[in-house]
Amino acid sequence: MSLGAFLHDLLFDYTLRTVALGTAALGAVAGALGCFAVLRRQSLLGDAIAHAALPGIGLAFLLTGSRATPILVLGAALAGWLGTLAILAIVRSARLPEDTALGIVLSVFFGAGLVILTFVQRRPTAAQAGLETFLFGQAATLLVRDVQFIAGVGAMALLLLFFFWKEFKILAFDPDFAASLGLPVRRLDVFLTSLLVVAIVLGLQAVGVVLMSALVVAPAAAARQWTDSLRWMVLLGGALGAVAGVTGASISAMGRGIPTGPTVVLVASGIVAVSLLAAPGRGLVAEWIRTRRTRTRVRADSVLADLYALGSQHSRVTHPHAAATLRAMASDPAEVERSLQILESRGWARSNDQGLWALTEEGAERAERLFRSGSGEEEAT
């Protein structure tokens, strides 16, 4: 399918449009709230919540016999929330580290969920069909009323995030200081975590319990690379989450039997990879360029030092020497030629008609400053 045809379908194909809107909404909510999870070092909590939600889905169906999204989501939310409280309780009372508590809750709840799901599937009614799509997600099963539900609840969660912005910000940055101001940090903690639970359970039908945490962590981690402002990070996290959701879900909806969760994860991973590499400032490429620049400068300075040392053995420090001599002195002989050219372009060294190199007056001064006064002032270049 060409891109044009795809865009056409995205706008006019009923199923694809529904899927795109739904996954955009849940991606935006998860991406925005995920920023707080990532900044509070709770990335794994999202995974535990998603897995812990599975028994809630099964039980909600068993108890009501309904497959309506709001009912299943409510069951998922209750189970996910119970799982979160269990983690907090284990950490507080049992002297176990948080990652252990996360591991216990994740596997116990997920195991219970699988048992319940298996039991549901063995029952002779037909209504249970499709419950297993909650494992890996199937965005194509989203109906218009599901999308309305996701968008409505998601908007409420984001609105609450907006209203309690400064409280959540200080909670994430310095909870002790927040407590010293008299803020109820423990209740705020439960509140913010509950919003995260909401963001996660909204995505379970489309993305699945196994991989939903990717939509919480990946867009936030990517967004962090591009900005140093919490507001922009949350906005960008939401936007990237929406992009990952729409792209992943659309790809899976176009083919037959492609589960949405893994597709979304692949797209989100791509976004993270690009961000880790290419972001200005924090990206690896920027880092690499910075390192290279520094190395080039240090190399040039060391050739300058060698020229100065050689020159000092003569009556004039600007006495010329062969590049071969400098290469013999350098730890990185292959780079000497380039360093000399840099020094020449700065006006610190020059070559004569015999191809010999010498310091200029200016270069001698700089060498003096750099290497005689010990660790001196920073050189503005």
């Binding site: 209203f163 912005w165 910000k169 200080i170 002790d176 962090r224 402002s229």
Partner: protein
């Protein structure tokens, strides 16, 4: 104006982590309008004491009153400077934003910091010499600059009692001087300043009062009376760094020779040597 009673009153305070007492039956009065240092070896409970006074830790027993009020009612009067290392300095926010957090307590729910709060935050940054850094990312700050930002955040709180956990930790001499100036200014306008402090040699110069702590309270009161060798030896269990010249000559008991031979200066200023009695091999600073 100095209130009549003590600024901070601690009665029978006991704090324990998993049955291990961190503070044991501490009775303490901190004078209003004074600069008070809390000193003691690592693990003495200095940070715990400050956090208990702030109500961040629930004590096993005991009572704290600030300016004659229970902590919860005195919050607006109390500013807090936590340890610099207690937060993630890679958090995506600016210096001005962090300082404005000091106004959140007065703002209340649903209200956002606005122009007024930004102006007050800038004034506080001015006082600590950091106004040029207002829009900087906090990641780019040095240790001393971080410490000054935290101090500015406390100043914005506009409190009468200031509790600071190691504000001199990891700062250079110039920053230390700047911070001391700010603390003195607060004291001179009648505020109470309580500082967890590590460098014993600067105690007599910087502080009016001192609390010597080692799980129990060893002594508290004016530096000239309390900061004696005997008290320090009790607090540090004989493992005393920099004893020479720490206490003023006046504070030494008359006629007693300063027994410096068995106490070597600890180059790092670190008192985390093995506890007395643990028989740590070659602990030359422990008494025989």
């Amino acid at each position: 104006m100095t209130p009549a009673g003590p600024a901070i009153e601690v009665n029978d305070l006991t704090v324990a982590y998993r049955q291990q007492p961190v503070l044991w039956d501490v009775d303490l009065e901190i004078r209003a309008g004074a600069l008070t240092a809390i000193v003691g070896p690592n693990g003495a409970g200095k940070t715990t004491l400050i956090r208990s006074v702030l109500g961040l830790i629930k004590p096993a027993a005991g009572r704290v009153r600030i300016l004659g009020l229970p902590v919860a009612e005195a919050r607006r009067q109390v500013a807090y400077v936590p340890q610099r290392g207690s937060v993630d300095w890679d958090f995506p926010t600016s210096v001005l934003d962090v300082v404005m957090m000091g106004t959140y307590g007065q703002l209340g729910w649903l209200r956002r910091p606005g122009r007024d709060e930004a102006r007050r935050a800038e004034e506080a940054l001015e006082k600590v010499g950091m106004v040029a850094y207002a829009s900087r990312q906090i990641r780019q700050l040095s240790g001393g600059q971080q410490q000054r930002v935290f101090l500015a955040r406390a100043l914005v709180q506009d409190a009468r009692v200031h509790l600071m956990d190691e504000p001199f930790q990891g700062v250079d001499a110039r920053t230390e001087g700047a911070i001391v100036d700010v603390l003195r200014e607060l004291r001179n306008r009648g505020d109470t300043v309580v500082v967890v402090h590590h460098a014993l040699q600067t105690v007599p110069e910087y502080f009016d009062d001192v609390v010597l702590l080692n799980v129990r309270k060893i002594a508290s009161g004016p530096v000239a009376r309390v900061f004696t060798e005997a008290n320090l030896r009790e607090a540090y269990g004989g493992r005393l760094p920099f004893l020479q010249g720490v206490t003023g000559g006046a504070a030494l008991e008359p006629g007693r020779e300063a027994p410096t031979t068995d106490i070597l200066p600890d180059p790092g200023g670190d008192v985390s040597s093995p506890p007395a009695g643990s028989g740590g091999g070659g602990g030359s600073w422990t008494r025989p």
